[in-house]
């Protein structure tokens, strides 16, 4: 299908651009390391409970996402290549290409954050592995999905300052609250089935937000 080929090409372009300039990857990894260090300094020798650690994890994930996921659209608007892209690609191809780019970026980021948290916080013991992995994967998908269309909105609005987190936070709250709950269960070692309600919410969130974004994207992208 032409749109599929086209989206894949958009994804490739973004990926190649990223590899060439290394902008996002560098800045984001530095951010993640800084965040982990700051939190560790704040907590010192206190041993935070699983639910606190879970909350901290998703806070860092959220802010990392806010630092990195808008770049895919903002760079196009800033460098005036958005028109070039609009000339060659259908809105749907642009949306899915950039969505998948953000999904890959989020998964890499969250893997890094997981690694850091395991190293920095001795209390961050993933006792129920499957729950944790599934939560992080689903959480990443939902995060990328909501963040992508919001990135497009912010880019078209001139991306002034803190607009991106302000817009994103209310939309992401159901995802964050649910993911935090499930992660707490994973850290406490509850059985896989105990988090089934959370998984259902995460999956329906992903479906609803992705479908909604797909329907709305045309109105954001076309002037």
């Amino acid at each position: 299908m032409k749109t599929l080929q086209s989206s894949y090409a958009v994804l490739l372009k973004d990926a190649q651009s990223e590899l060439r300039t290394r902008y996002a990857v560098n800045a984001l990894l530095m951010f993640v390391v800084t965040a982990a260090v700051i939190v560790q300094l704040a907590i010192r020798s206190e041993a935070p409970s699983p639910s606190v650690l879970s909350g901290l994890f998703w806070v860092v994930v959220f802010f990392a996402a806010m630092s990195g996921l808008s770049r895919t659209f903002v760079s196009e608007e800033e460098r005036n290549t958005a028109m070039t892209l609009q000339l060659v690609a259908s809105p749907t191809a642009v949306y899915f290409g950039k969505l998948f780019f953000n999904i890959v970026l989020t998964l890499i980021l969250n893997a890094a954050i997981t690694f850091l948290f395991t190293v920095v916080f001795p209390g961050f013991e993933v006792r129920q592995f499957e729950t944790f992995v599934l939560t992080v994967v689903l959480g990443s998908l939902g995060l990328a999905s909501a963040s992508t269309i919001l990135a497009a909105i912010v880019a078209k609005a001139g991306s002034k300052g803190t607009l991106y987190p302000v817009l994103a936070f209310p939309i992401l709250i159901p995802l964050l609250m649910t993911a935090m709950k499930a992660t707490t269960r994973a850290l406490e070692g509850e059985p896989f089935g105990a988090a089934s309600a959370e998984f259902q919410v995460l999956i329906s969130y992903i479906m609803v937000i992705t479908a909604g974004s797909y329907l709305l994207f045309d109105y954001v992208w076309k002037e």
């Binding site: 909501a146 269309i149 919001l150 909105i153 078209k156 609005a157 001139g158 002034k160 607009l163 302000v166 817009l167 936070f169 209310p170 939309i171 709250i173 159901p174 609250m177 649910t178 709950k181 309600a197 959370e198 919410v201 329906s204 969130y205 609803v208 937000i209 909604g212 974004s213 709305l216 109105y219 954001v220 002037e223």
Partner: protein, 241 residues
């Protein structure tokens, strides 16, 4: 926006009803065994605090209604690009901001007197606060865009996107998480958000539903005024340029 007669009806209706509710809700005394219509029964555990219900619930309802109207007119704007729809959408959003602020405050008061603290992160308490955040973000977005077509278009998209998250707050989270609001997990007394089982007294019910109607009329009247003002302002700006 509405016919002249309807507006007058809403104007007087809302002023009269809201005043009535204010007086009745706050002044009618409680008594252990109510004899007449002018006495409320004492609900164990709630007593005077029950009066908050006459205000908090209608305010929350109005905040949600405002959101719904803002979203619907946002959709209409996207389809027709008629600036009038955008004016209605913003006007409704402004009222939504006001009512969700009032609902959050009255909710916090309820929380303080019933559950101990002003804020508990109960899912429903959180969701009316999130509605407030959505309105804040909405106005933040609008103020960042100068081009009126782009502003209407992008803010409509945001409202609709936020609308997609509403079912999660209303249906999913409260049932999933243990909360203090009636109807949440772990609460076996109420059947749902509106704990009708507790408000069995007919005079309380009448006052409650009257309050719902009163606040709705108030909202519609205010909306009408705001839309008319917005339209006038818009016409003026055309002449200035």
């Amino acid at each position: 926006m509405f016919g002249k007669n309807r507006v007058t009806f809403a104007k007087f209706g809302s002023v009269i009803l809201v005043s009535f509710v204010l007086v009745a809700g706050l002044a009618i005394p409680l008594s252990p065994s109510p004899q007449s219509w002018l006495e409320f029964p004492v609900i164990p555990g709630l007593e005077d605090k029950a009066r908050n219900l006459f205000f908090h619930v209608p305010m929350s309802w109005t905040a949600v209604l405002a959101f719904f109207i803002s979203a619907v007119y946002g959709i209409r704007y996207l389809r027709s690009r008629d600036i009038d729809f955008d004016l209605i959408s913003v006007s409704a959003a402004g009222l939504g901001l006001l009512f969700s602020l009032l609902a959050t405050v009255t909710g916090a008061l309820w929380a303080r007197f019933n559950w101990g603290a002003f804020w508990n992160w109960d899912p429903r308490q959180t969701s009316i606060f999130v509605l407030l955040l959505i309105y804040g973000a909405y106005f933040g977005l609008r103020s960042a865009i100068e081009n009126e077509e782009k502003r209407g278009r992008l803010s409509a998209v945001y409202t609709i996107l936020a609308g997609f998250t509403v079912p999660f707050f209303v249906f999913v989270l409260p049932r999933m998480m243990a909360g203090l609001h009636p109807g949440a997990l772990g609460d076996d007394t109420g059947k749902g958000p509106l704990f009708e089982t507790k408000m069995i007294a007919p005079n309380m019910r009448v006052l409650f539903y009257t309050s719902l109607v009163a606040f709705t009329l108030l909202f519609l009247w205010l909306l009408n005024m705001r839309v008319r003002a917005a339209r006038l302002e818009y016409q003026q700006s055309l002449h200035r340029s």
